[in-house]
Symmetry: C2
Subunit: 351 residues, 2 copies
Amino acid sequence: MGEFDLIKRFFTRPTPRAVLGVGDDCALLQAAPGMQMAISTDMLVSGRHFFDDVDPRALGHKALAVNLSDLAACGASPVAFTLALALPEADAAWLAPFSQGLLALADLHGCELIGGDTTQGPLNICITVFGEVPQGQALLRSGAQPADEVYVSGTLGDAGLALAHLLRDRARLVGGRADAPESVATATLLPLSADDLAQARLRLEWPTPRVALGTALRGIASAAADISDGLLGDLGHILERSGVGASLDTTAALALLGRQRYWATTQALLASEALRQTVLQHVLGGGDDYELVFTAPISQRAGVQAAAVASNTPVTRIGQIDALPGLRLLNAQGERLDYHFQSFDHFAAKV
Amino acid sequence: MGEFDLIKRFFTRPTPRAVLGVGDDCALLQAAPGMQMAISTDMLVSGRHFFDDVDPRALGHKALAVNLSDLAACGASPVAFTLALALPEADAAWLAPFSQGLLALADLHGCELIGGDTTQGPLNICITVFGEVPQGQALLRSGAQPADEVYVSGTLGDAGLALAHLLRDRARLVGGRADAPESVATATLLPLSADDLAQARLRLEWPTPRVALGTALRGIASAAADISDGLLGDLGHILERSGVGASLDTTAALALLGRQRYWATTQALLASEALRQTVLQHVLGGGDDYELVFTAPISQRAGVQAAAVASNTPVTRIGQIDALPGLRLLNAQGERLDYHFQSFDHFAAKV
């Protein structure tokens, strides 16, 4: 199967929104009047962003999901994407499920595959995604103001926890991942039942980009980022770009991990101070969750709530923005904690 | 050197045209009124698209050049690009010249680096480029009409010839390249002096995207493509998408190789019928030249000439479009030749 056959068979679809789709030297897009185009690109490498024996359907899903998550963080609506793919061989048994996972998520978001490139080489997936957002309404990392409140969507830590368990189970580290804080790999692992691991693994391998929440937050959130590298790192980008600091309520943060499946377990674990720190490390440092962290003025509490309801996405308030640079972790009484995480060090070194 | 330091040090530049450049979840572009956005993506893999010991400055240049060439083929003006980069290690001694080669060409075309991704992995460069073209004026592969004439810019064959010599000199085939017709690797090699090889190698490693010609051909050319896979293959895309055929004047095509440095040599070689075929194979099948092949109505001969002059780009008329599908090679007397090339077979199997 040659390059052109491969493209025709697996990746050529109707593109009603694009002026011109796959098959020419370029694709053509026409922005609607008053809209800006949001653009993001992500490259996924075998052995670093995914295990080489990962379900290709999940990989197709995730490759697009991580890009849609960047659009969500900007409040942009997905429009189209390009796919560049290096493959060791043109294997239909791999390409069929990969393209199905990819295109099912694309269809869900009305995001058209408009072009790409395929070549022989070590497995590498590079997607560039295009979204649209009304002029001046994009959510930026740079808009956080002192006294704004800090929110996180969904739950955090499951993906990193699943990865840590999978890595341990394989008894080899696959070289770690450039985007994951080392803390994930080296942390004491929370115990997980087989069922819980299966659920956590779904978060790792089938992330849900928070596109509906992102667009609902236009005009409400003051700043936003998606959580791909861990909450501390990604909130850190907001703080750095906005020139501010933040205080986080660790009790609220702890509940982000427990809220869904692990609540009962977590309640028991939290009695131990050492385990509290371990849980917190997973919540604050675990990557790959693809939730949104965002800030909004106190006056927008109702707006944030309405956006959460409209997008059917849970949202938790976990802290506030300070004029003082740096990131402070507080207990429920507002007292500063002296927890010291590797990802926190990394962040602290930057602001 | 971490990912963020690397981006800051080598790849963060001012982006006066973009609404938002490197450093947020997405970049933001605003199309000028009445403009469409042309988008293309190319992935370059070590050992397949370039030798692993290639000059990193040349590689940076070529990685963007092949993308700008796609914009040129659509008649689009470069605006911006994203860069996704997998690197075995964050090596400043490699990254500095790579980024210099890349950004020098970007500056030459006013094409802004607006975002990207870096990760550890086998060397892989994926660029997605954005250009703008007035609504409805993009040059497409699908517009060729019977009786239109076929043109090629610049010269053809040097890049493929240099590659074939380099491959032979290395006495190993590096696995061939997915994008190159096998004919290049297996053809009888034309003899090249060391000086001529150095010149031909410049064409292989430092291709010149024909951006000025592409934009000058708006409203004049009926169809266009860039020549990355060889003339026969890329003209074949035009024929297939336009539902037409073509006849090529092989004498005019032969002169495409000889016009610059090899003219004297070529004149001597052409006395031999076997060598004529070898030269023709290089001209028709050699990839990596990044010239444009385009068609235009006879009534636009003066327009084509004016575009060539305005863009300071030589252009040669080498044939015409026929209603009859397929590609015919003719001698100077208009008689059909029975040359049989591998890349021609590949093409013939497609239309």
